[in-house]
């Protein structure tokens, strides 16, 4: 780790100001990605602005057909929340499958989606449910938020404040973990939404989270695992690495999608 200056922000405004004044600032939430990257000397911000103490980023509420989760809420809080479980059990399950207990008690929803790791779980839930990402500068629909590998629609200094997940009729998540890292090798989130039909979002398999329209169309007709049999996803543009080549990932998308639908009940 290189030397840096640490700031603790008490409010969104203060966080914005601290960031603006920094030569090369970075927001710190749970630190589960940022600190590790800094320790490996792959990131070297001049100023670290800790947003962990900002009250606006906390809290979970269910109202108006949506679950609203603060960006600073940890994975463990989401996994344990009765409100989340009651409204969207698949979301609570997903949070409970992230990393290990240590990671779940530090890592946050905002940090996860701001980072947009191609193997992260939350992006699948955001895209699969058609969530709205609220920020210090406005809001983004999930379809426009996840731009590319580690790239989002966030501007410099823009802070995610909350994520609003519309409550679906039913939803399910099936994750095939990378045997080593336990990130998603392939994770598929499916939902039968109230206004937007079926949505199928895949994480882990490509350079970023993406939807599978052909599966969505099939589920619109018949929301059952059987409806997906025979639909194959092309291996083109999927990731290949030590743990899974593109063709294996393509195959797993099919299997996990069916299992996610089965889990949605």
């Amino acid at each position: 780790m290189y030397d840096f200056t640490y700031h603790k922000a008490g409010s969104l405004e203060q966080a914005g100001k601290l960031f603006k004044n920094a030569r090369d600032g970075a927001f710190l939430a749970g630190g589960q990605t940022l600190i590790a990257t800094m320790k490996l000397r792959l990131a070297s911000p001049s100023d670290v602005v800790d947003i962990g103490g900002i009250g606006d980023l906390q809290g979970i509420s269910v109202a108006g057909g949506a679950v609203s989760i603060g960006a600073g809420v940890t994975h463990a809080e989401v996994a344990a929340s009765k409100d989340v479980r009651g409204a969207i059990a698949a979301l609570a399950d997903l949070a409970g499958e992230i990393g290990d207990p240590h990671v779940r008690h530090r890592g946050t929803l905002g940090g996860s989606i701001a980072n947009n790791d191609p193997a992260a779980d939350y992006p699948a839930a955001c895209l699969g449910l058609g969530a709205t990402i609220e920020t210090s500068a406005g809001s983004h629909g999930a379809d426009d938020f996840f731009v590319d590998l580690f790239e989002t629609a966030l501007d410099e200094g823009e802070i995610i404040t909350r994520v609003k997940f519309p409550v679906p009729k039913r939803a399910g998540y099936a994750k095939f973990p990378n045997p080593a890292s336990r990130f998603a090798l392939v994770g598929v989130f499916v939902a039968e939404t109230t206004g937007d039909g079926a949505r199928v979002a895949v994480t882990g398999a490509g350079p970023g989270v993406f939807r599978v329209r052909e599966m969505e169309a099939a589920l619109d007709k018949d929301f059952s695992p059987a409806a997906l049999s025979g639909i194959s996803v092309s291996a083109d543009n999927l990731n290949s690495d030590l743990h899974a080549d593109a063709d294996y990932r393509a195959h797993l998308i099919g299997v996990m999608a069916q299992r996610a639908v089965a889990a949605a009940g």
Binding site: A180, D241, L242
Partner: protein, 788 residues
């Protein structure tokens, strides 16, 4: 049996301090004035070093010194050594390339040591290392062992043709060829034993400290054998004479072999402490362990088994290429030879065996002993072959094994080993019962109905532990003897310190060794202290590896206890005016048989030290030493049965049952022994299911350089084991022990892979059988199955 004696489930004495964070590991030690070392490592697998410009680094804040290979050479510091001479079949000695602690002229693997920066803080040392300008002239790399000898392969050491370390053989080639000519059936397999990266929970660390007043050095280090480290650093590397170097290995958090060896970092730290004039500390980071701790395994093997019409094995032929990495690590040369090929007879009566082993250099981290060291590789070859042969011959694999078991002892194999005792049928029978082998077909059918594939696999392993006697290993090329020493000091007040040359880095010696003493005198275990890991306290020792602490280390203690017992009896007999033959020791009391005359153990020890009333001619004191050189190896053996269920949709496999029936001879503490078996199986399953060290075949970059890609076994990957023991007491040592530290890791890969190949219906499954590998196997197998 007392409640803390031999066979008692005593709770480990050391665990209180470990689980409350009160252990004292090398990194916990901070010396006044301590400085910090950082090692600059090669980013390339192979490059010529044009020049190393350290000027900018030397000027950086906090920097006290920047050292390169040239500095070590200037001081006459020798290279790291390999302490076991292997001769090729043509009689020539092995080709040991130079291994400077800091690179000279060339770097030979990613992570090779280029320079060392010493600074006031660890961060300053690391910052400064980024300012060292190294002129690397990149060269092509040779990464895979199978390619190392081919024409045009990049040479690791320019002067060593064909990257050949040695071409070694064992056994009778003509006799073996004849067996194959006459065979009714031959089973052939190509086997890759995957390379592993050791992952002790505590990374390596060292503090070198020079005391100018005494002209002496102290090295604190994460070592499994501090005396061997001192010997090598003195006699071969030339840091300091032996009497001017103290090596302390305090609490050590796991080793699995990787902390046997003498590495560059501790060498440089202890040497640099004199130049800096202050203690120099290095604590390895996990990424450094991945890059430069000695790796394990990495064999490519062609193996053939010959059988007659009756299903009796008549011959075994094995050709192995062993990857040694870029340099020969401390004991590396012995691993694919005397620790591997000598075990190729397994539990079987095989009249003819021939094995040839070509050891090669590659541009990868050095490879050396890792839990099991050679024996997991041998077990894997033999047990895969036997299982495959049974399938080809449509024989029950248990039956084929039984037909070929050695049943008479002692048994001389064609590959050096003379098995002393065992009962392989007994462990097989017990394992079949615990595994409900008879019910397997039903379980398989149930799995099939649920869309799953079920398989069962055996590993009837044998290993050789406590490698010895010294004269024998010397004749095979070992540079050291493999005995052990112990000193038992009874204090005047009757408590006891046992100084042992073994070293505990997780094995629980403070408990088991104390049980041996408690058992002998009937003393409470908290009156007994086990002292190890300090060359200034313990006279000498060969350390802990190869499951030798029980059979060799405890035997030395037993011998010293014999002497203590004899002297204590003499003192008591004299004081009680009885014959020494009539003295009995029980519950901490020495009494005259059949009388009420007795003395407490503490009264005897006090008598020994006050020396007011000792037998004529007896020296005062109660302290005895033993140097125990075993008469033979010991031969733990047993039967593991693994059952797996595979989800063919994803390739995910689950271990649904694991039975291990082991014969370890006398068992001192079943808790600890079971713990060793659990851990060993976990490590073996790690190899077979999850772990694979992967280098990019072109660039030689380590792809699995962190836990993001290198997959360690987790609790959820492992089932609840069913364990049992069938015991034949080891005849060659006074405790009757055989050793238990490696058995699980030796048996597990074969048992798991035999279960997987059974489930998948093909021998062509790579290890580790990751979900992707399994899925791919099924893709390949599907059309063939359809064609049937």
């Amino acid at each position: 049996m007392t409640d803390t004696g031999i066979g008692a489930r005593v709770v480990r004495k050391e665990d209180q301090r470990f689980i409350t964070g009160a252990g004292n590991y090398t990194d916990d030690i901070n010396l006044p004035g301590q400085t910090y070392a950082y090692f600059l490592r090669s980013p390339h697998a192979h490059a010529k070093l044009g020049g190393i410009d350290t000027k900018r680094a030397e000027a950086a804040p906090g920097v006290l010194g920047v050292f390169t290979g040239a500095d070590l050479a200037r001081d006459g510091i020798g290279g790291l050594i390999c302490g076991w001479m292997i001769h090729s079949k043509d009689g020539s000695p092995m080709n040991a390339g130079p291994h400077p602690a800091l690179a000279q002229e060339k770097v030979r693997h990613v992570g090779d040591h280029v320079a060392c920066v010493v600074a006031e803080t660890a961060a300053q040392a690391r910052d400064a290392a980024e300012l060292i300008d190294v002129d690397y002239q990149e060269l092509p790399a040779c990464v895979n062992a199978a390619d190392a000898k081919s024409d045009g392969a990049a040479l690791v050491h320019d002067e060593i043709a064909g990257n050949t370390v040695y071409e070694w053989e064992i056994g009778d080639a003509d006799l073996t060829d004849a067996a194959f000519r006459d065979a009714a059936h031959v089973t052939r397999l190509s086997i890759v034993n995957n390379r592993l990266i050791p992952n002790a929970i505590e990374p390596r660390a060292a503090i070198g400290c020079y005391d100018a007043a005494a002209g002496a050095y102290t090295l604190y280090t994460t070592s499994q054998n501090p005396h061997v480290a001192r010997l090598v650093l003195s006699a071969f590397i030339g840091i300091a004479p032996e009497h001017k170097l103290r090596v302390i290995a305090p609490d050590v958090g796991g080793g699995f072999g990787s902390k046997i060896f003498i590495y560059a970092e501790e060498t440089v730290c202890v040497w640099a402490s004199r130049h800096i004039g202050r203690p120099v500390k290095w604590t390895g980071e996990r990424s450094e362990s991945f890059l430069a701790d000695a790796h394990g395994r990495d064999h490519v093997t062609q193996a053939e088994l010959a059988l007659d019409k009756a299903g009796r094995i008549t011959g075994l032929r094995v050709r192995t290429i062993a990857n040694m990495g870029a340099y020969l690590s401390t004991f590396s040369s012995s691993v694919p030879t005397y620790l591997y090929a000598t075990l190729l007879s397994g539990q079987y009566n095989i009249p003819a065996i021939h094995a040839s082993v070509d050891a090669v250099y590659t541009h990868t981290a050095p490879v050396d002993a890792y839990r099991g060291a050679g024996r997991p590789e041998a077990c894997y070859v033999v047990e895969r072959l036997v299982e495959a042969a049974a399938r080809e011959l449509k024989l029950d694999p248990a039956e084929l094994r039984r037909r070929n078991f050695i049943t008479e002892f002692p048994h001389q194999t064609p590959v050096i080993m003379a098995y002393d005792t065992g009962d392989y049928g007994a462990s097989l029978d017990k394992a079949l019962e615990l595994a409900d082998y008879a019910g397997f077909a039903k379980r398989k059918a149930a799995s099939e109905k649920a869309g799953k594939l079920r398989g069962i696999g055996f590993a009837n392993y044998i290993e050789a532990c406590g490698i010895a006697p010294s004269a024998a290993v010397g004749s095979l090329g070992a540079g050291v003897g493999l005995w052990e020493s112990a000193e038992v000091r009874v204090n005047p007040t009757g408590n006891i310190e046992v100084l042992t040359g073994s070293h505990s880095h997780g094995q629980g010696h403070e408990t088991t060794f104390a049980q041996l003493v408690s058992d002998r005198f009937g003393l409470p275990i908290d009156q007994i202290e086990i002292v190890h890991g300090d060359t200034d306290k313990v006279q000498f020792g060969m350390g802990t590896y190869g499951s030798r602490s029980g059979p060799v280390g405890m035997s030395a203690i037993a011998r010293a206890l014999d002497k203590i017992e004899a002297k204590a009896k003499k003192i008591a007999a004299h004081a009680l005016e009885a014959s020494q033959d009539d003295i009995e020791i029980r519950d901490g009391t020495l009494s005259v048989a059949g009388t009420d005359k007795s003395m407490a153990f503490g009264e005897v020890s006090l008598a020994a030290y006050v020396a007011h009333n000792l037998p004529e001619g007896m020296e005062p004191g109660l302290k005895e030493t033993s140097f125990y050189d075993p008469a033979n190896f010991t031969f733990p053996a047993g039967c593991h049965i693994c059952e797996v269920e595979i989800d063919p949709e994803t390739g995910v496999s689950e271990i649904v049952s694991w039975v291990a029936v082991d014969d370890f001879g006398t068992i001192i503490n079943p808790n600890i022994v079971e713990g060793q078996v659990h851990g060993g199986i976990g490590q073996g399953v790690g190899q077979a299911m999850l772990e694979a060290c992967h280098y990019d075949p072109q660039s030689g970059q380590l792809v699995t350089g962190s836990y993001m890609d290198y997959c360690m076994p987790r609790a959820a990957d492992l089932p609840s084991y069913k364990l049992a023991f069938t015991t034949t007491v080891c005849p060659s040592n006074p405790v009757g022990m055989k050793g238990c530290g490696e058995a699980g890791a030796i048996a597990a890969p074969a048992a798991f892979m035999n279960a997987m190949t059974d489930a998948l219906g093909t021998e062509d499954v790579p290890m580790p059988a990751t979900p992707q590998a399994v899925w791919r196997t099924l893709q390949g197998a599907a059309p063939a199955a359809a064609a049937q």
